[in-house]
Every structure is written in C-alpha cells, then in structure tokens.
C-alpha cells in the first residue's frame, strides 16, 4: 500500500503541468479561472480545438483515434493538473467522456470513422439526451418515440436537463422504438445532429441565474438509420454501459477544483476574521478532512483492480462528494456573512463562493439524487431487498 504516484507518473505530471500552465498564461489566459459551464462558450470551443491539435483532447483514447493510450493513472494526473492550472471545464466533456467511449465500445467501424475524429479534434460537441419531464431518476420510463421511415429515424418527444445543448452540435438520445414497451425494454440509442428544423432548444434558467441546462424538443426530427449505436432495442444496455465509462478518471480533477474553492474560503475567513471563530474553525477542519478523505477514497477506488467485487468506495463516492460540496457552500456563506448575499455588479451574477452555495444544490440532484444513491448503496452494496416498482 502506497500513497503517491510512481516517478514516471510524476514526470508525466510535470509535462502536463508545464503545457497547461503555458497555455493559461499565454494564448488562452482570458479563459483561465472561469468556473461556470457557459461563460465565453466560443473561446472555449477554440480551446477544445487547441487541445485536439496538441494531442491533449482525449488522452485515454486509442492512438489510432487521436488519443494517447494513456493509463488510468495518467488520465487521473492530467485531470488533476488541468484543474490545478485553472483551466475551465471542458465544454465537450460529454463527447470526450461519454459519446466517444460509447462509440469506441459499441459503434461500427463506419461510425467510429464518422464521429471520433471530430470529437477528438474538438470540432464536434456532444450533449446528452437521457432525462425527460417524466423520466428523471426513473430513466427507464422515457417516452420520446423513434420510428424508422424511409431509411431514417424520425423522433418525437422532449428531453430535459440537456446540459449545453445550445452550444452543441450533436445529441445522443434514448428513444422508445417499440410501441407498447415498458421500462428498459424497447429502447434504442440514437445520435442526432442538433442543427435541423425538427429540434428546438430552449434554455432553463437555474437558481444561480445561469442557464447551462435546456429543454430539447423533437418534432419529426431526423437522423440516418445508421446513426443508431448497437441494435434496435439495445438502448438501455448502451446507456448503462456508457454510465460505467466514467470509472473515476475525472474525480481527482474535480477534487482539485474543490481544493480551489476551499482555499478561497480559507482566504476569506482569514481576511474577514471568521478564522478566529472556534465553530468556523471546526467546520473548516471538517471540510479539509472531508476533502482529503475524498482523495484517498478515489485513490482506493482507482487502485482497485478487482472489479468482480462491489467496491464500496466507488459506490459511495457520488453522495460523498455531493454532500461535502453542499456543506462547503453553506460554510462559504457563513464565512462571508451578508457580503456574500450582495452581487458585485448590476447583473444577477455571482462570484465563486456565492455561486458555489447556489450551484451545489444541484450536486445532490444530478447524476442520481442522494435518495437514489442511497437506494443503490443499500441494494447493490448491502444487498438489501429491492424497492418494489409501482406500475401505473
């Protein structure tokens, strides 16, 4: 059992750090430190292309498709250095982390040739169409319909929470293609271009005033028949496989962003005297401890090579970080006091800490709410009886 990374991995870390720092102090210094997903979208698309040109776009992918065949440790290190350098989040993270790996695993050679080069080059931005107004936590109850007509899929329905759909080029959607089917059966996974008359994207303004999410409406929207990943009726299998790709690669990078947030709180507490309050000190200590434990939990999860057993660290990770960050937002406001409730300018726009306070309320909802996480932990991790399914 060891804490750190190998000397070779540390050398790779230095290489990543050098390159990223150079970009963030040079050509792309104007986007450094942006913490929302929507600000300066056009510049961030250029950044995606810049990453592609220099081979840093999708290092975990095979070399043949624009990646570097990077090991899990190297991917983790890159994610960590990416966040440490203050580089804003990837506007194409869905393409790189979900769409690409799904096509690599389940797509045909033709589909790989059609989609992967664009995703790797940062010129094809993907978003995800899973949730619907009636299918949130209960993803299997999607109702958006797909039917084959004259060599094309024709899609009707509505998706929601389609993050960044308004700046994306493609969307992958889970559609119900078998009439009368229920639950996970009869679903098909389709790739659709967003720029077409049958698709309308409307922004949803969130509690922090930002609009990263959308509603996406499909009215006789079309895509070629061969835009289907897997076969007709394989949609659930593909969607679930896709959710498994995320094996913790981005966790340490995400934690580096959390580190920056906690450091900002510590700096604010020192500056305004809150650091002298014994209760605030206890809470900052708890936050610090929680963040460190998150790191070592992620390292345990990433070091685990035995995937035959349920990994408790992996299973509990989502609720752990989401709950930790929500508390961090509350701590931030208690440190700032009323100053945190007053915007700096004329617009309803928030600095890092007040925005953290508001945004973190979403953390315990998206990607599986805390309640769903507890069900998963209890049913998969502790083998308790499954929740009975109501049938309406």
């Amino acid at each position: 059992m060891k804490l750190g990374f190998s000397p070779q991995e540390e050398a790779f870390r230095a290489e990543c750090a050098d390159w990223l720092q150079a970009q963030m102090t040079g050509e792309f210094r104007d986007i450094r430190g942006i913490t929302t997903l929507t600000a300066k979208a056009e510049r961030r698309k250029e950044w995606e292309q810049h990453l592609g040109e220099h081979g840093w776009s999708c290092i975990g992918w095979p070399k043949a498709w624009g990646g570097r065949d990077a090991t899990l440790a190297e991917q983790v290190i890159f994610a960590e250095e990416y966040a440490r350098a203050g580089v804003p989040g990837r506007v194409n993270h869905i393409g790189i982390e979900l769409a690409g790996p799904t096509i690599l695993a389940f797509g045909t050679e033709e589909q790989k040739r059609r989609f992967l080069p664009g995703i790797a080059a940062g010129s094809t931005i993907f978003c995800q169409g899973f949730s619907e107004p009636g299918a949130g936590s209960d993803l299997a109850s999607v109702r958006t319909k797909g039917r084959l007509e004259g060599g094309e899929w024709v899609v009707n329905g509505q998706k929601i929470w389609t993050s960044l759909a308004h700046i994306s080029d493609w969307i992958f959607v889970v559609t119900r293609t078998e009439d009368g089917s229920k639950g996970p059966k009869g679903l098909t996974f389709l790739m659709m271009p967003l720029d077409q008359p049958g698709i309308e994207v409307r922004g949803i303004t969130q509690i922090n005033g930002d609009a990263e999410f959308n509603e996406t409406f499909f009215t006789d929207a079309r895509c070629p028949a061969d835009s289907m990943i897997g076969g007709v009726g394989d949609g659930w299998k593909i969607a679930m496989g896709l959710l498994a790709f995320e094996r913790g690669v981005s966790t340490l990078g995400q934690q580096m962003a959390f580190r920056n947030e906690l450091d900002e709180i510590i700096a604010a507490a020192r500056a305004n005297g809150a650091a002298g309050d014994p209760l605030i000190r206890q809470r900052i200590a708890r936050a610090e401890i929680g963040l460190r434990l998150m790191r070592y939990g992620a390292l345990r999860m990433l070091s685990n090579t035995d995937h035959s057993k349920i990994d408790g660290a992996a299973l509990t990770y989502k609720i752990q970080w989401a709950t930790w960050r929500r508390s961090l937002g509350e701590l931030a406001m208690d440190v700032l006091g009323q100053a945190g409730e007053i915007a700096e300018g004329e617009a309803y726009e928030w600095g890092t800490l007040p925005n953290l306070f508001l945004y973190s309320r979403a953390d315990t909802i998206y990607g599986g709410t805390n309640q769903i996480q507890r069900n998963l932990i209890a049913e998969r991790g502790l083998a308790l009886p499954r929740e009975p399914r109501g049938d309406l």
């Binding site: 059992m1 060891k2 804490l3 990374f5 899990l72 440790a73 983790v76 510590i266 507490a269 020192r270 005297g273 650091a275 002298g276 014994p278 000190r281 206890q282 900052i284 200590a285 708890r286 610090e288 401890i289 929680g290 460190r292 434990l293 998150m294 070592y296 939990g297 390292l299 345990r300 990433l302 070091s303 685990n304 090579t305 408790g312 660290a313 299973l315 509990t316 609720i319 752990q320 709950t323 309640q371 996480q373 507890r374 069900n375 932990i377 209890a378 049913e379 991790g381 502790l382 083998a383 308790l384 009886p385 499954r386 929740e387 009975p388």
Partner: protein, 351 residues
C-alpha cells in the same frame, strides 16, 4: 496508484480477522467484562500462537518489523469483535519505548510486551511533581491500568517508564462504562521513575500508534456493527416484509456505509503516511482519529436504533459497540481537539 493492500497485507488481514472471529466470541468477552476487563487467554494466544503482536516493533527486540498499515489491519480486526485486549498499550507504551527508550529499557520490556508476558499502559499526566528522578502525583483515567505491569507516563517534552510494582505505586480500578477497556487511577508517591532517553520521539510514536490503533478499532467496530445490522434488516419481518426493504431503514444503513468508507480511507491514509514519513502524517492522524471515532459512534448508535427493543438489552451485543465507540471518542483527545489541530494547520493559530 497502489493505494490498496499488497498480497502480504491481504494475508495478514485474512489471518487476523479469522483469528478474532473464531476466538473473540461474545461469551468470552462477557466473561472478561464481568471480571477484570481482559481476556488473558486470548491475549496470550494472539501474542504467541498468532504471532502478530510484534507488528510495527523492531525485529532486534522480538518484533516483526512491518509498519503501521499492518498494525492497523490487526487493530481493525480486534476492534471488529470489541475484543477485551490491551492492544492500545501495545500501540502506545511499547512504541514509545521502542522509539524513545534506552537500549536497556528496550531490551528489558519489548520482548516481554510482544510475548504477552507483560502488559503495558500509557497515559498523559496533567500534574506531576518531579524531584530527583522521583514522581508524585495522580494519573487518571489509565486504560487497562489495573492490569498493567509497566506504564509510560508523559507530559509535553517528558516521558517516564514506571513499573507497576515499584514502591509507592497504588492502582485503583474503576467500574467503567466500556467494560472491555476499564480505567484505573494510578497514584504515585515518591516513585522511582525511569525517564525515557528521547521523550520527543517517544511521545510522537505513542501518539501515532495510539491514534491509529483507536481509529482502526473504530473502523473495524463500525463495519461489524453495520454488517450485523444489515443481517438483521434482511431477516426481521414486520408489516409483511423484511424491514430492510423500507427506505427509511435502507437509507440509514446507506449513510452508515458512506461514513465507513471514508473512515477506511482515513485509517489507511494515516497509517501509510506514518510509514512513509509523509508531510501529511500529522494532518492524517488528526483526521483519522476524529473521523473514525465519530463514524463508529454514529454507526453504533444506529445499530441500537435499527434493532429496536432487542438492541437496548444487555443480552444483545449492540451496547458493546456503542460503549466502545463512546470511549474511543474521548480517548487520546476528543474530536474538537483533533479538528482544532487541523484548523491550526490550515488557518494558523486561533486569534
């Protein structure tokens, strides 16, 4: 990334867990609780037959080398059974002697402590008069103090070795809430004490050892308390279904696992950091002690609640876990103390 047990560590874990599961039974523990609070036969078997008592102690004095990760594995296994054993004395006093004692002190005490022939205890002293190498004062509460053959007492910058049979030493056992690790008050009246040669090293070693021991015991106890509660949730039927199928029940069990997984990271992070002499070691130790103690208490409290009435009975083992958890929370510095140390590291001294 190798933050996982090696094959050798897995083997130690399998051996230690099997040993305590088989031998540290509820019946034996209860017999010890009703008597002096120790299962001497079990301790002797652990020290001699199993041969894991020398883990983390120097080989030239009968130890088996290895490090705090291996020691934590053993303490976790013992903690899972709330075994009434002087494990903490081995983690604190023996390590203090190994790190800060003279060659003669090491040669005299370490082999005996490792073989189980002698039992050690350790406690911080608040007030002690020292005159010409002789100590006078009262030290309380001393864990397993009534059974110890040798004590290591310490205060900032100072540490002494005191023999229980030295003239002027009186020991009074207390009825203690956690009967698996009863306290005693030790009174010294002009007692000849042997100072440890390097008190700083001794104190650092006993703190690291003690905090890791308690954190690992807490982790083992918490995991076992969860496992037993889950087993009960699957078999107990009310309203026509296993109570473990109700979300109110399930979610509480899930929250217990969320804490335990973090506690597991904390114990092995701290143990590894000490073994690797990492800069993070101090922070990790404070994190592990405070987090694991809180986790164990939360889980043990839930164990009683989720068992309903039977969990409140003397007959059920839930109270063994609950009382051990309570005792660990305060021992060797409470949660607020450890978190304040962390706060000082990240924020600087309180104004």
């Amino acid at each position: 990334m190798e933050f996982a047990f090696t094959d050798e560590q897995m083997m130690i874990a399998d051996t230690a867990f099997a040993f305590f599961r088989e031998n540290a039974t509820s019946d034996r523990t209860r017999k010890a609780m009703a008597a002096e609070g120790i299962d001497r036969e079990l301790w002797s078997a652990f020290c001699t037959e199993l041969g894991l008592s020398g883990v983390g102690l120097p080989e030239e004095h009968g130890g088996s080398g290895l490090g705090m990760v291996e020691f934590a594995i053993i303490a976790e296994a013992a903690g899972a059974r709330v075994a009434p054993l002087p494990m903490l004395g081995l983690a604190t006093a023996a390590r203090a002697i190994a790190a800060g004692g003279s060659e003669a002190q090491k040669a005299e005490w370490l082999p005996k402590l490792i073989s189980g022939e002698a039992i050690a205890s350790c406690e911080r002293v608040a007030q002690l008069a020292e005159q010409g190498g002789r100590l006078t004062g009262t030290i309380t509460p001393v864990p397993h103090g009534a059974l110890a053959d040798v004590f290591v007492f310490f205060s900032p910058g100072k540490a002494w070795l005191v023999r229980a049979d030295a003239p002027g030493v009186t020991v009074a056992a207390h009825v203690t809430m956690d009967q698996t690790r009863p306290f005693a008050t030790v009174t010294l009246e002009d007692v000849l004490a042997e100072p440890l040669a390097d008190p700083q090293a001794a104190i650092a070693a006993l703190h690291a050892g003690g905090w890791i021991c308690l954190a690992a015991e807490a982790l083992g106890g918490a995991q076992e308390a969860l496992d037993r509660t889950v087993a009960y949730a699957r078999e107990r039927v009310q309203f026509g279904r296993p109570i473990g199928s109700f979300q109110a029940y399930k979610h509480r069990l899930a929250d217990m696992l969320v804490e335990i997984e973090q506690a597991r990271s904390a114990v092995y992070w701290a143990a590894c950091a000490v073994d690797e002499q990492s800069d993070e070691a101090a922070l990790a130790l404070h994190a592990a002690k405070s987090f694991c103690a809180d986790t164990f208490f939360m889980v043990a409290g839930n164990m009683i609640q989720l068992h309903g009435g039977i969990g409140f009975t003397w007959e059920h083992d839930a109270h063994l876990f609950f009382k051990r958890a309570r005792s660990i929370q305060t021992m060797l510095g409470n949660g607020s103390f450890h978190r304040e140390q962390v706060a000082t590291m990240v924020l600087g001294e309180a104004a």
